[in-house]
């Protein structure tokens, strides 16, 4: 199943929740923010938000800046 992750094509076996994706990617959910199809996903909704074919996902965190 094709999705777009941080601007690049990404494969996932089947629809899965944001939580599952983060787990798969070994990303600590507490330190990132997730956008699904241009809408921010609240942390509380990580389990219930499902990523489907063709979805666009952005996962960001804080980096050094001025």
């Amino acid at each position: 199943m094709h999705i777009k992750l941080n601007g690049d094509p990404h494969e996932i076996p089947a629809p899965l929740s944001v939580s599952a994706l983060l787990q798969q990617l070994e990303i600590d959910a507490r330190r990132v923010a997730v956008e699904l199809n241009l809408a921010v996903v609240k942390k509380a909704a990580y389990d219930s938000s499902v990523i489907n074919e063709g979805d666009e996902v952005e996962i960001v965190n804080f980096v050094g800046g001025g």
Binding site: D28, F62, G64, G66
Partner: protein, 257 residues
């Protein structure tokens, strides 16, 4: 005399706001932050590198002491800035944002049109907006009218280290502004920060001047003292400038006279 620095009802101990970019190492950044005495630091919002685990910036920032201010650096449209601000809020669990809408790659000067538009929308969404703008009193007033919690005029291009290029403008912005004025960008060395504060600025935000110094920790300490010195001098009321000399020792009672 208490001289507290308050933005949107939140009191900060230091009038120096620091960045987290371009340090030789996270460890040096952490030491510089401590030396600076700052309790607010800007951070950028960027895509996670999913190909490899990198150590997190946050491991090197004591967020119990330092308040994080997400920025929208590198956003060239109001939409990108708004989108980045929303992600920053979610990642940071705070609704503050250093709002940048860049209008030119060479100077990194703001696109004030887009900045004003994004400020209005984000204020509606409940953000505490600190917009980075240029040293224009009129634009600063419009941003404050739009609900900005503070205005952040630039002293010189980001990272240029040229110092305050137009002191007269900064002074006038402070005289006219109804919100805190934070000089953002352009500081190159300690005296530049002191000058900004002597002009009446409520605070100074800098990143490269500290991170890019040969000794970032030493420069951070210097900036801490310079900001305090400039503020004290502003409050103490400097002497007027004279074109000629004025003796500091008595002119009479000299022996042999």
């Amino acid at each position: 005399m208490s001289d507290s620095f308050v933005i949107a009802g939140r009191t900060f101990a230091s009038r120096l706001i620091i960045g987290t970019g371009k340090y030789p190492s996270h460890a040096i950044m952490k030491a510089a932050h401590e030396a600076s005495g700052a309790d607010m630091a800007t951070v950028a919002v960027r895509r996670v590198d999913i190909t490899r685990q990198t150590e997190s910036l946050l491991d090197y920032i004591d967020t119990s002491k330092i308040f994080l201010l997400p920025n929208t650096a590198a956003c060239y449209t109001a939409d990108d800035a708004i989108r980045t601000a929303r992600l920053g809020r979610e990642a940071g669990m705070s609704n503050w944002v250093k709002l940048e809408v860049i209008g030119d790659e060479q100077t990194l000067f703001p696109d004030n049109e887009g900045l004003l538009e994004a400020t209005k929308l984000l204020v509606k969404e409940g953000f505490i907006v600190l917009p980075y703008t240029n040293d224009d009193p009129v634009m600063c007033r419009k941003l404050a009218d739009a609900g900005a919690a503070a205005v952040m005029p630039l002293g010189a291009p980001i990272g240029s280290g040229l110092g305050i290029q137009n002191p007269n403008n900064i002074r006038i912005i402070r005289e006219q502004a109804t919100v805190p004025v934070i000089v953002d960008a352009g500081v190159g060395t300690a005296s530049d920060a002191a000058v900004a504060m002597e002009l009446g600025a409520d605070g100074v935000l800098m990143n490269t001047a500290i991170a890019g110094a040969k000794d970032p920790v030493g420069m951070a300490k210097a900036m801490k003292l310079a900001v305090e010195a400039g503020r004290l001098a502003y409050l103490a009321g400097r002497i007027a400038k004279k074109s000629y000399a004025s003796a500091s020792s008595p002119l009479t009672g000299v022996v042999g006279s």
